[in-house]
C-alpha cells in the first residue's frame, strides 16, 4: 500500500512540465574527465564515459598551457568500430578510456601546466554534445628531478598500482618492468646505497671488522677485501632469497618482520651484542663446535671465506627487521610484479648497494681498521653504544615516547660517564683523553637534557627541552582520522567528501612506519596545515579481519603502511601513493600534488 502510494506520487509530481524528454547528463557527468602525470615524458587523460554515451575517436584535441610545454601526438586506442548511416565507419569509445599523451617538450623547471582536452560525443538516445573542452591542472616534475610528476617513496613510486584493478593494468605494469630491467636494478642498487646510510647497517661494521681483524696482523689488503666481498655476498644472497620468497608469496614478509615480538627480540639481540662489545662476556660458539668448524674450514680451500659468507647471511637476518620498514616498499613492488627472477635480482643488487660501505671498510683494511691494541677496545665500545642505539631505534615506535626519551637519556648519560665526563683529567692528559672527555661532556649534557625533557613532559625527541620555553607552544593537535572498517564504510566516507580530496591511510598497531609517520610527519606544522584541506580516513587493519583483507586487496596492498589519495571526484589519484615512511618535507610535496589535483570545471 505504502509503496504504491509513493510510486504514484512520484509519477505524478515528477512528470516534467514540458513533454517528456530524455534525461540527459551534463557533458561533465556524461564524460567524466581526469588527467595525471605519467612521468617526465607523458601525461594520461582518462574518461569515464557513462553507460549509453560514447565519444568519437577522431574528435579529440589536446592543448597545454603555458606554451613552453609541447605535446606529442596522442596515443589514441583503437576503440570500437561503428557503422554510421552518415559518416560511414567511425571509431568510438565507451566505458573507460585512457589516452597517453606524450610530452614532446617540457620546460626544464617543470611546474604547473593546464591541460585542455576537447572531445565530442553523443548519447544513444539520439543527441550529440557540442565539442566540449575540459581542463586539468597538473604538476610536471623538474627535468631530472625524479621519475615522475608524482613524488613517491623510492621503490613505491615505481609501482603506482591501479585502483580497482583490471587485468589490463597488470600487463601494463609488467611491460613497464620488462622494458627497464637494467634501470630497475640500478634503482634498487641506489636504494641499497641509501639504506647503507641508515643506522641499520652500522651493526654490520663491527661484525665485519671483527672478522677481518680476527685474522690477525698478517691480513693483506687483498685478503681483507675478499673477506668483505664474501661477507657482502652472503648478505646479498640472503636478501635475494627474501626477494624470491616475496615474488612467490606476496610479501607479508615485511609485515611479519615488523611485529612487536620480532622487533623486541631483535632489540634484545642487539643489547646482547652490545654487552659483548663492552666486554661483559664473550659471545662465542661452544668450544667443541668451534674447533670442528675451524677444522672444516681449514680443510676446505677458501674455507675461511665460507665462514665469512655464512656470517654475512646471518647478519642480513639480524638487521632484517631494522630495514624492514624501508624494505616494505621494495618487497611490495616485487610481489606485485610476481616475478621471481626480478625479485631475486632486485634484492640482490640492493644488498650489494648496502654492502658498498662494508667493501670500502674491507678494501682499506690496513688503513681504516685499527690493529689490536687499546684503540681496538675503544672502537668496540663505540660500536657497543651504536648497537644499543639501534636497539632503542628499533623499539622506539612500540613504546611510549617518554620511555624512548628515558632510554636515550640513560644511554647518553652512561656513555658520558664512561668517557670520564666528570672524572678530573690529570694535567698530563693526552690529547685523545681530552677529546674523549669533551665528547663525554656533550653526551652527558644531551642525556640530561633528555632526562629533564622527559620528566618535564616533553615528548619531542628532537627538542626535548621545548616544553621549558615558558609559554608552552601549542602542541600540534593529533591528526583526527575517520575510521573505516569495511568497503561500505570507505565508499560512504569517500562519497561524503564530495569536493575535497581524500587521504586513506592504512594503519596497524604493529606497523612501525605508520607510527613514524604519525609521530614525525603528520605532526609537522607544514604537513598538518595541508592535511586540514583533505578528508582524512584511516583503515586500522590490526585485527586483519576479512573486511580488512578486502580493503587491502582493493588497493592491492599487502598490508600497511600505505596511503592512498582520491581526487575530489572520489577516484584514486594514480601514482601518488605513499608506501612506507616519508619525511615531512616530501610528504608535504605529495599533499601539494593532491591538493593541486582539483579538476577545473569549465
Amino acid at each position: 500500500m505504502l509503496a504504491r502510494v509513493v510510486a504514484f506520487l512520484f509519477l505524478v509530481l515528477w512528470l516534467p512540465t514540458h513533454a517528456a524528454e530524455p534525461d540527459l547528463l551534463e557533458p561533465d557527468k556524461a564524460f567524466r574527465f581526469s588527467a595525471r602525470v605519467l612521468g617526465p615524458e607523458a601525461l594520461e587523460v582518462r574518461y569515464q564515459i557513462a553507460r549509453g554515451y560514447y565519444l568519437y575517436r577522431d574528435k579529440f584535441q589536446f592543448s597545454v598551457q603555458p606554451a613552453t610545454v609541447e605535446l606529442g601526438a596522442a596515443d589514441l586506442p583503437p576503440g570500437e568500430l561503428k557503422k554510421d548511416e552518415f559518416f560511414g565507419e567511425v571509431r568510438t569509445y565507451r566505458g573507460e578510456l585512457r589516452i597517453r599523451v606524450p610530452i614532446a617538450k617540457a620546460s626544464a623547471a617543470g611546474g604547473p601546466v593546464t591541460l585542455a582536452v576537447t572531445s565530442q560525443g553523443c548519447a544513444d538516445v539520439g543527441v550529440c554534445y557540442v565539442p566540449h573542452e575540459q581542463t586539468a591542472r597538473l604538476n610536471l616534475a623538474a627535468a631530472g628531478a625524479g621519475a615522475s610528476g608524482s613524488v613517491s617513496d623510492a621503490p613505491g613510486g615505481l609501482f603506482s598500482s591501479p585502483a580497482a584493478g583490471s587485468s589490463e593494468d597488470d600487463t601494463v605494469i609488467a611491460k613497464l618492468f620488462h622494458g627497464n630491467f637494467a634501470l630497475l636494478l640500478l634503482s634498487f642498487f641506489g636504494f641499497g646505497l641509501l639504506l647503507s646510510f641508515t643506522p641499520c647497517v652500522l651493526p654490520m661494521i663491527p661484525i665485519l671488522s671483527g672478522v677481518i681483524v680476527g685474522r690477525g696482523a698478517h691480513v693483506t689488503r687483498g685478503h681483507a677485501f675478499s673477506l668483505s666481498a664474501a661477507y657482502v655476498m652472503g648478505m646479498a644472497i640472503t636478501y635475494a632469497i627474501a626477494g624470491v620468497l616475496a615474488g612467490l608469496s606476496g610479501a607479508m614478509l615485511s609485515a611479519a618482520l615488523q611485529s612487536p615480538w620480532v622487533l623486541g627480540s631483535f632489540a634484545a639481540v642487539f643489547v646482547l651484542l652490545a654487552g659483548a662489545m663492552f666486554g661483559f662476556y664473550e659471545l662465542q660458539l661452544p668450544a667443541a663446535l668451534q674447533t670442528r668448524l675451524a677444522d672444516a674450514s681449514n680443510r676446505l680451500p677458501g674455507g675461511h671465506l665460507t665462514g665469512v659468507f655464512a656470517m654475512g647471511a646471518l647478519s642480513a637476518l639480524i638487521v632484517g627487521p631494522c630495514v624492514a620498514a624501508p624494505l616494505a616498499g621494495a618487497l611490495l613492488y616485487i610481489s606485485q610484479s610476481r616475478d621471481v627472477v626480478l625479485g631475486g635480482s632486485a634484492l640482490f643488487v640492493m644488498a650489494l648497494g648496502m654492502g658498498v660501505p662494508l667493501l670500502v671498510v674491507g678494501a682499506s683494511a690496513g688503513a681504516l681498521l685499527p690493529r689490536v691494541g687499546p684503540w681496538m677496545e675503544t672502537v668496540t665500545r663505540f660500536f657497543g653504544v651504536v648497537l644499543l642505539a639501534v636497539a632503542i631505534y628499533l623499539v622506539a615506535p612500540l613504546v611510549p615516547r617518554a620511555v624512548e626519551m628515558l632510554a636515550w637519556a640513560a644511554l647518553l648519560v652512561i656513555t658520558g660517564i664512561f668517557l670520564r665526563a666528570i672524572d678530573p683529567l690529570p694535567t698530563s692528559a693526552r690529547g685523545f683523553d681530552r677529546f674523549a672527555k669533551g665528547l663525554g661532556v656533550i653526551a652527558l649534557v644531551a642525556g640530561i637534557a633528555f632526562l629533564i625533557g622527559a620528566l618535564a613532559g616533553s615528548r619531542d625527541v628532537l627538542q626535548p627541552l621545548a616544553g621549558l620555553r615558558g609559554a608552552s607552544s601549542p602542541a600540534a593537535a593529533p591528526v583526527v582520522f575517520t575510521r573505516v572498517n569495511s568497503m561500505d564504510e570507505l565508499d560512504r566516507a569517500i562519497s561524503g567528501a564530495r569536493g575535497r580530496p581524500v587521504m586513506l591511510d592504512f594503519y596497524a598497531d604493529w606497523c612501525v612506519s605508520c607510527k613514524e609517520m604519525e609521530r614525525y610527519t603528520f605532526s609537522d606544522p607544514q604537513v598538518s596545515a595541508r592535511m586540514s584541506n583533505v578528508v582524512k580516513i584511516q583503515a586500522d587493519v590490526t585485527a586483519n579481519a576479512p573486511e580488512h583483507q578486502q580493503l587491502l586487496k582493493r588497493f592491492r596492498l599487502f598490508g600497511p603502511p600505505g596511503i592512498v589519495f582520491f581526487d575530489p571526484e572520489g577516484r584514486e589519484i594514480q601514482g601518488l601513493r605513499v608506501i612506507g615512511f616519508q619525511p615531512a618535507d616530501r610528504f608535504a610535496k605529495v599533499l601539494d600534488q593532491v591538493l593541486a589535483f582539483e579538476r577545473v570545471a569549465q
Binding site: 502510494v5 548511416e85 543527441v127 554534445y129
Partner: protein, 176 residues
C-alpha cells in the same frame, strides 16, 4: 495505531517527493523570467547566414517559427533534416518558417545544405551558439534542439533530440 503511523509516513514521504519533484522542475525549466530572457536572446541574436549577411530570428515574427539547432557532425541532426525540408515544403505557404542554426563551420554547411536541398535559411553559430539554448532548457547543451514559436513569438514547444515527424506536424498544423 500501526495504521495511523503508516499514513503519517505516507504523508511525509508524499510531501517530500512532491517538494523534490517541484524543485526538480523549477531547476530544470528555470524560472519564467529566465526563459523569457533566453527567448529574447535567441530571437535577437544576429547570426550570419550562408551568404554572410547577418540575420535574426525576430524578422519572422508573425509566422510559426521552428528553430532547429543542428550540425553536420551530428548524426541524429542529419537524420531529421529531410523531414524538416518536407515540413517547410508543405506548410511554408501557410505561414511556417523553418530556421536552421548550425553549430558548425560554413565550409561544411554549404555543400551539405545544397546536397539536401535545404529550402529554409540556415544561420551559422560558433560553439557559443549552444549557449542560446541553455536558458531555454537545454541544460546539457546537446544537438539537435528545436524551439517552436507561435505567431505571437511565444514558446510553443522545446524539444531535445530527434523530432517525431507526426508529432511536430500535428503541433505545427495546430499553430497555423
Amino acid at each position: 495505531m500501526k495504521r495511523a503511523r503508516e499514513w503519517v509516513l505516507i504523508a511525509v514521504v508524499g510531501l517530500a517527493a512532491g517538494a523534490a519533484g517541484y524543485g526538480y522542475n523549477v531547476w530544470r525549466i528555470g524560472p519564467a523570467e529566465q526563459t523569457r530572457q533566453g527567448l529574447a536572446d535567441l530571437t535577437g541574436a544576429r547570426l550570419p547566414d550562408l551568404d554572410g549577411a547577418l540575420q535574426s530570428v525576430a524578422q519572422w515574427r508573425g509566422k510559426v517559427v521552428v528553430v532547429n539547432f543542428w550540425a553536420t557532425w551530428c548524426a541524429p541532426c542529419r537524420e531529421e533534416i529531410p523531414m524538416l525540408v518536407k515540413l517547410q515544403q508543405k506548410y511554408g505557404a501557410h505561414g511556417l518558417q523553418l530556421v536552421g542554426i548550425a553549430i558548425d563551420r560554413p565550409e561544411k554547411v554549404r555543400p551539405y545544405a545544397a546536397e539536401m536541398g535545404m529550402n529554409f535559411p540556415v544561420l551559422l553559430a560558433s560553439l557559443d551558439g549552444i549557449e542560446l539554448t541553455r536558458r531555454l532548457g537545454n541544460k546539457a547543451g546537446v544537438l539537435p534542439y528545436t524551439v517552436v514559436l507561435d505567431r505571437d513569438g511565444e514558446i510553443a514547444r522545446l524539444e531535445v533530440g530527434a523530432l517525431k515527424e507526426a508529432r511536430i506536424e500535428a503541433l505545427v498544423a495546430g499553430l497555423l
